[in-house]
Amino acid sequence: MKQGPCSEEDCFSLLKQFEHVLESDPLIDEVGFIHPSQFIMLDEEASSSNVYQNEVQPNNGTSRKFWNKDHKLGISTDILVQLCKYAKHVFLLALDEYKCHGNISCSPCTPESEVMKHSQAVLLLSSDFGTAWNARKLILSKKDQLSAFTEELRLSGLILSNSPKSESTWSHRRWIIKMISQRFSTPQEIITKESELVESIGERSKMNYRAWYHRCWLVSYMEIEQVIQELNKSKRWAGLHVADSSCFHYRRRLMLKILESLYVKGGNAYDKSEARKIWKEELDWNKELVERYVGREALWLHRRFLSLNWIMYFACNDSDVSPEPGESIIINEEIAIFIDNEIQLLESSMTVPDTKFEDFQAQALHAAVYMLWLTKKMPELWRMLEEKLGTEKVKCVMSTIALERPSLLHHLVNV
């Protein structure tokens, strides 16, 4: 949106108002940009419940630019440009002052506090302004109280409420957690809370790569018990968001960690039979979902990972050594039974009751591609497929793929 120029005085006043609101309500947990016309509506809602908190009065009868109630902050869209430009300008001046003259000041407003105050204002408006985040890191790196870092988690959480995809903000959070773990310890609670934060943001911002990447990053800070807890806790959400491929990737990340823990030396290896149970449960649950939510790509992709690893790590003849990549898999009885079941799943998925519904066609395609992908990883599978299905049905599977993904058949040698 285009906005007219603003006098230095007006901008100064706006910034002062903004920073005053932030200071007077340190518990703000949500911020958003709202159209001026919505202020009236928000005011009406507020007056109906008859409670005013931290009402921001304009100076000289001009219209309100900030709305604050119940720890929510609204900023009027018609001042965003001026406020953002001015806040950036003031921040850069303060940063310069801090870098040149250190933290010496004869007034209660130290250069450091000015930088922190102005950077906070700027970042709430322009969350990807890396220089502002860096200034805060510079100042924080000289602090030794845990509270300074946890307060930073609160601020960045607030910013994420309005800008859930802001890469700089997520990156800043990782820096804070690294600092906390280096200087203090890493209470499991912080990691748990981070994980929950991602889930809540994931609710509003679907398949947010930055958010889910952050959640995966946390896994390296988790002990195996927490990994399993996470797998259990996040199951319900995953079941309600079956199209969210990032969410299922997170589960794969957790399960990979379980796999890795099987081969830890020195007697600390995770119990293989426990891991087996977990894997089987995930496979069964995935099958239920695949049958219930017809044509969902994310679910079939998840199955690729589950099945291949089941065959390589659990159905294989028991071994304490992880299999070498590229090693040929010998089809023992357990693997044969497993593949048999997968072929049955393929058959039932390829039965398209009504060609009018795209979902059923998608289901057939995903199932066919799933099986083809497994044969790519395990060429031994071909023979079983042909034996179980017969040539005609195999041709049918291939032609389903040929309709939408002909290139996947390019590299096949034995077709």
Binding site: M1, Q3, T131, N134, H249, H410
Partner: protein, 317 residues
Amino acid sequence: MADKLVADKHLRYILNLMAEKKKESFESVVMDHLRMNGAYWGLTTLSLLDKLGSVSEDEVVSWVMTCQHESGGFAGNTGHDPHVLYTLSAVQILALFDKLNILDVEKVSNYIAGLQNEDGSFSGDIWGEVDTRFSYIAICCLSILKCLDKINVKKAVDYIVSCKNLDGGFGCSPGAESHAGQIFCCVGALAITGNLHRVDKDLLGWWLCERQDYESGGLNGRPEKLPDVCYSWWVLSSLIMIDRVHWIEKAKLVKFILDSQDMDNGGISDRPSYTVDIFHTYFGVAGLSLLEYPGVKTIDPAYALPVHVINRILFTK
């Protein structure tokens, strides 16, 4: 429905953007920290349309140099902090204008080399965030400056390979979700260092060609997402580097990109609609270049610069 590239309209769109000094919109204010990237997108597009001469070289180059920090790295705009993201764009812009000679190569390359970590990965700046994008940037930039020997290439390559997933794709770091943008970076870095044999080309080709939407012909960046013009670059360049570009339907993709143009005002959007931006304009044109669309110069899939620019660099001392 579009059946041609309206290059003149895109030219005007880009020139207007570059001339917009006062910044009246919120969108441009919140993007001014990455103006260096924006300049690279705009200028490379102009170069691909053979219209680089429409801008003032001196003005651009002197502005770029004001963004250099004392550490040798470049910031996204004057007075901001340096980061490898903007350092690469700065070097690429200078390459477009054949002005690499004004750089203190030692300084820039030391800045980048200093960001390599023990495990071979690269941080984006002194604050330590690691991402395979930064590996690509370091390798691409140092290659252009002919200083690849300043880093431990073997470790850099091994780190990238450790980010390979079961599906053949790559993420930001080991275990991260495969993403077309990250894949481009990893494959590009491996291509530049002569390590494409470390990629399972069939498996990755498989993942990449699954990005194409049957209906629209557009490409998405990962499963379950909508097609987006910018993936025309990342998916396509990756496929070209691993010799599997024939695995997607090119004609359909061309149509998708052309349909995403704003035929009246110029610029390209993320998909057929009218919210154009410089980012998608560049990726749309770059994608068309990879698809050998007439009237667009050839772009190098690994360096993301016009081939004639790369040749100039490779054949000079």
